[in-house]
Amino acid sequence: MSTTVLWVSVLAACALGFVTKYLGHLVPESLVDGRRRSRIIGLLPVALLAGLVVTQTVGGDERIVLDARLAAVVLAVVLLWLRANFVVVVVAAAALAAGLRALGWG
């Protein structure tokens, strides 16, 4: 792929990404008024974040892959349950995954 094509793609993705974000802020409030719509919009992040947790934890090339990431996420849940700090959770998860892989698993 030529550098020009790559640059055009990079900048197109950036432009479309910003337009998407900006449109969200521009849409009139009346469109999102009402209890039902408010609740749906309020629940969207938790739904999308749950989707991201799944794809980040077990997502592979076109199929589900169970590896060290799953063990790391279980550890993260336990640490969050114990009210551990966010950074501690992330670093511990990385360390566990790296350790398991060093031992030849996942």
């Binding site: 790559l6 969200g24 802020h25 938790v46 060290a68 360390a95 995954a97």
Partner: protein, 240 residues
């Protein structure tokens, strides 16, 4: 002059934004390294973090380019994954109430992390503090670490060896955690996770996350029944 009764909450929101920024900084090193490994040059990798500035879309973009995918598919997938930022914007606009360049700046900083930090707070002024702390914290660390990762990328080798992919997954668990306190949040998350899991194999990259949004619609419609006592307790405009 009376001290702001919310001062401790503002300070806590700023700390939360900073720690989210630090955490994504760790993750940003892996993005920088992976960007270069995917065949982008250092400046293209850095441009994605500066201008696209939404991790999921950035990883999707370099993933498809790295796998030899069509650049149009890369742009489309990146944009599809970014739609959730538009949805966050709908919510944030009500909290932030900005116009002009400040609104454009806020739009650029509208990502998972800034939204999560903002909406994890209860009082609107503290939510605003949380948004800017999370957004600017992540923007700073994400861009610095992207540059570092891109420059030293080859030295680091495979980010999986360092568990950076697992760190990313754990970070999303940390971000969703405060939303799982109430039953509605837990039900929505469980349904969304199930949808993403079922949709994973048959749909192209990025689509399972979008389909997971259906869970919010389903739970939102079912739970919005006005006869429920706890809905009456819920103040208007409270989106959490």
């Amino acid at each position: 002059m009376t001290p702001d009764p919310l001062a401790p909450e503002h300070a806590a929101a700023r700390r939360q934004g900073l720690s989210v920024g630090l955490a994504t900084g760790i993750y940003g090193v892996s993005f920088g390294a992976l960007g270069v490994a995917a065949g982008l040059d250092v400046w293209q990798t850095v441009a994605l973090s500066l201008l696209l500035f939404t991790g999921g879309s950035q990883f999707a973009f370099i993933g498809i380019i790295g796998a030899g995918g069509n650049p149009i598919t890369a742009v489309a997938t990146s944009t599809l994954l970014g739609i959730r930022n538009g949805l966050y914007g709908l919510q944030l606009a009500r909290v932030l109430r900005l116009t002009g360049w400040r609104r454009a700046a806020a739009a650029h900083l509208t990502i998972d992390e800034s939204t999560a930090v903002a909406l994890a707070q209860t009082e609107p002024p503290v939510q605003r503090t949380g948004f800017w702390a999370g957004g600017l914290g992540v923007f700073t660390f994400w861009n610095v670490s992207t540059l570092v990762g891109a420059v030293v990328g080859n030295a680091i080798g495979d980010p999986r060896v360092w568990g950076l992919d697992a760190a990313a997954a754990a970070a999303f668990v940390g971000l969703i955690w405060p939303r799982l306190r109430d039953r509605t949040g837990r039900v929505t998350a469980a349904l969304a996770a199930a949808i993403a899991l079922i949709a994973f194999a048959p749909t192209p990259a990025g689509v399972p996350v979008l389909l997971a949004a259906v869970a919010a619609v389903v739970v939102g419609l079912v739970d919005a029944a006005p006869s429920r006592a706890r809905d009456i307790e819920q103040p208007e405009g409270d989106l959490l």
